[in-house]
Symmetry: C3
Subunit: 312 residues, 3 copies
């Protein structure tokens, strides 16, 4: 296995095919470990992870903290890190990061400003993992999305992926598109109302990497052929015309009836939280994999923490 040579995890682009394979292979090992007598239960016993959240994101924070704990590691945590940069005191991200370097072995940071993870990483001698930086990246979400597909199909090449909903502002579908371009013969359908359609930069990137894609307005057109339907929330505030919003919402709901149009072995994903784009009655369908997907976040984060901290 190639030596894991990442120092920080700031963006999905850092991961090439070989690194993805290492991470997914390790995530497989973590999943197997938690199903039995966990051989990793003490492997990070003397390590401290600082959860530094400039805004609350309990789901993501719990996922990282559970991952660290399942490896025997310890946690110091705040959802209140904005206090560092409070108007009254005005400390820089640089200084906060330097100080936390003295107290922890790894930093998991959530921040409201795009680019802040990279800035923290530059100040840091210990690894920094980006747990979402504003409109920027959320690389561990992208990894767990891809891992969920890989885990279900034992591979990614050759699959047909439909992405549905708010593709213009959705961070997850953008990152996932980047990562999918590293695999052969993947085909992507972008399904959205015109006001939320995927941006040109991604389409050009896919063209450059010979990834086939199509843009669609009709969800029902793509359901019969898709291997994976990746649903996202459509946010009201994107629409100028309320009538148009109402129409869009109705159109991009994956009802139980629509699910029956899908192939039996296809899967339904969603980054969560959902609002109404997947009704609860779909949860019982074997194709529904969004809670499994959330759980895969645990294995991916265990894998990254393990790979970043094991040799130190």
């Amino acid at each position: 296995m190639r030596r894991f040579d990442l120092k920080h995890v700031c963006e999905a682009q850092q991961f090439d095919r070989e690194l993805l394979d290492v991470v997914f292979h390790t995530a497989d090992a973590m999943k197997a470990a938690l199903a039995g007598q966990n051989p990793y239960a003490r492997v990070l016993e003397n390590k401290i992870m600082a959860s530094v959240f400039y805004e609350p994101s309990t789901r993501t924070r719990f996922s990282f903290e559970s991952a660290m704990t399942r490896l025997g590691g310890k946690i110091i945590t705040t959802e209140n890190a904005k206090e560092f940069s409070s108007a009254a005191k005005g400390e820089s991200l640089y200084d906060s990061t330097r100080v936390i370097n003295g107290y922890a072995d790894i930093i998991v940071m959530r921040h409201h400003e795009a680019g802040s993870a990279k800035r923290a990483a530059e100040a840091s001698d210990i690894p920094v993992i980006n747990a979402g930086d504003g409109a920027g990246q959320h690389p561990t979400q992208a990894l767990l999305d891809l891992y969920t597909i890989q885990d279900n199909f034992q591979g990614i090449s050759g699959l047909k992926i439909a992405m549905v909903g708010d593709l213009k502002y959705g961070r997850t579908v953008r990152s996932l598109s980047y990562l999918l371009a590293k695999y052969d013969d993947v085909r992507i359908s972008f399904v959205s109302p015109p006001v939320c359609s995927m941006e040109d930069d991604i389409k050009e990137y896919l063209d450059k990497h010979q990834v086939g894609w199509e843009a669609q307005e009709e969800l029902e057109q793509v359901l019969p052929n898709a291997d994976c339907v990746y649903m996202t929330r459509i946010q009201k505030e994107r629409f100028v015309n309320p009538e148009e919003y109402k129409n869009a919402v109705g159109k991009y709901i994956l009802t139980y009836e629509k699910v029956q149009m899908m192939k039996p072995e296809a899967i339904i994903m969603h980054p969560l939280p959902r609002v109404n784009e997947i009704p609860k009655e779909v949860d019982g369908d074997p194709r529904a994999r969004y809670f499994e997907q959330a759980q895969n976040g645990l294995y991916i984060r265990m894998a990254l923490l393990y790979l970043l901290l094991q040799d130190e």
Copy 2:
């Protein structure tokens, strides 16, 4: 010992006499353990408890987290769980609970809405303990109250219990009344101003279970005979007439002088926090047991965590 067959702890009514005996017996063992070389110090070593508090309640949260820690268990925690259901995102309690199922082995939940613990329990494959759901239940408080009486008198049958203060809105006295009805020959005195008197549903329940009770306005009438005086706060906002409030407050303060009217072996309880209904000078009286009562919360919660998680 009967196999502990509770899956979730949502309400006090789930506990019959036999289960209460198992819980109290286990709490005794926990109390003894902490007084010496704690043999349970690692028994939940590989378990994670998620403290999911939709509103802060530091005393209750600390009690549960200390209990889990004394058993070797690990914690992930938030006082900010409302963020899950924030207007912006609107995630359901069902989804949040399902996701947390992937990260923890047990959930301790505090919520502002009555009935939410049961709803979470229905969504959960791992145990859910209700740490208070709005105007609903707070079953571990009821258990620790009852345990404090049992611990002091080596039994509950035959005792005379006076409940004083806000009996109409006080969650603790209502739950305690339910639980006392499971024992023989208990007698309850409800001591309150008319505006805060105990509701009829409880009185009818007691009648149905042959528990003797009386309603009283005069605290001094009950003090000489009571084995246990359970004080609660009277809240100003219950009274329309400020003069009436002032009068009530004065009347239901358990002053040092009034304490001297009590039997020497009687005990004084209070769920805390207190405001002025028990003056600080009473703290030194050997009958004052409210801090011991708070500490019993630790043993009861250790017992429940142990019983719910030991065999998994």
Copy 3:
């Protein structure tokens, strides 16, 4: 080594020379331990520290929690302790402290009111460490400041210390002055605009203990001779006249050029957070020790936790 006979840590004045030597000696051991196979990694394994913060101070809280964790101890934590004394419920600090006594082995408390640490200590059977009480004390900051000087010069007697900036309201420079008076032949230069000059009580205290001091307005006058330059923030709100503030700020910035006036073996300290009184380009100068100083907080707090809890 003298038996460590402190019960609580409320103020810097509790530490005499002999105790300071014990604490610093232990901090040395902690520093060495973390550089290798930490022999203290499990020494407080069965202890629980309650972080009770009535206001957030993530840097201080992380420092204490990292210290406890590096010794194997466990944490229960809140930044929300004001909720204890919320208007709605009105619990006293006394009651909260008594209750927490049942759940933890040591309390680290941050409070907004001067004197509250002492009040908590009076209510507590377990040790209380003051992590800052309003305009009052922050003794562990004072200890880590002094330790940083001691650690750099292998002693304190005979040194020339310059304190720069807001000396009137700065809690750290006041406490440090007290502690320096315990050593021989120390000389202090107070460098500040008149509106922020050191208060007379400290000057009188130094006179009484035969500590030489001078008051200065010109930073450049003291730089060539100082062994340690302790910088602090000047806060805008202290000045009536904005022009005067602007002038003061410019004058008390330790620019890279001014640093070159210092002796090669001198050191630059700052309690952090800084705003602009030390430009970032100074960070690379070997005399800059403020991040090392923050890290020394870890060793000092490990030392105190160890000394307070080891024998129990």
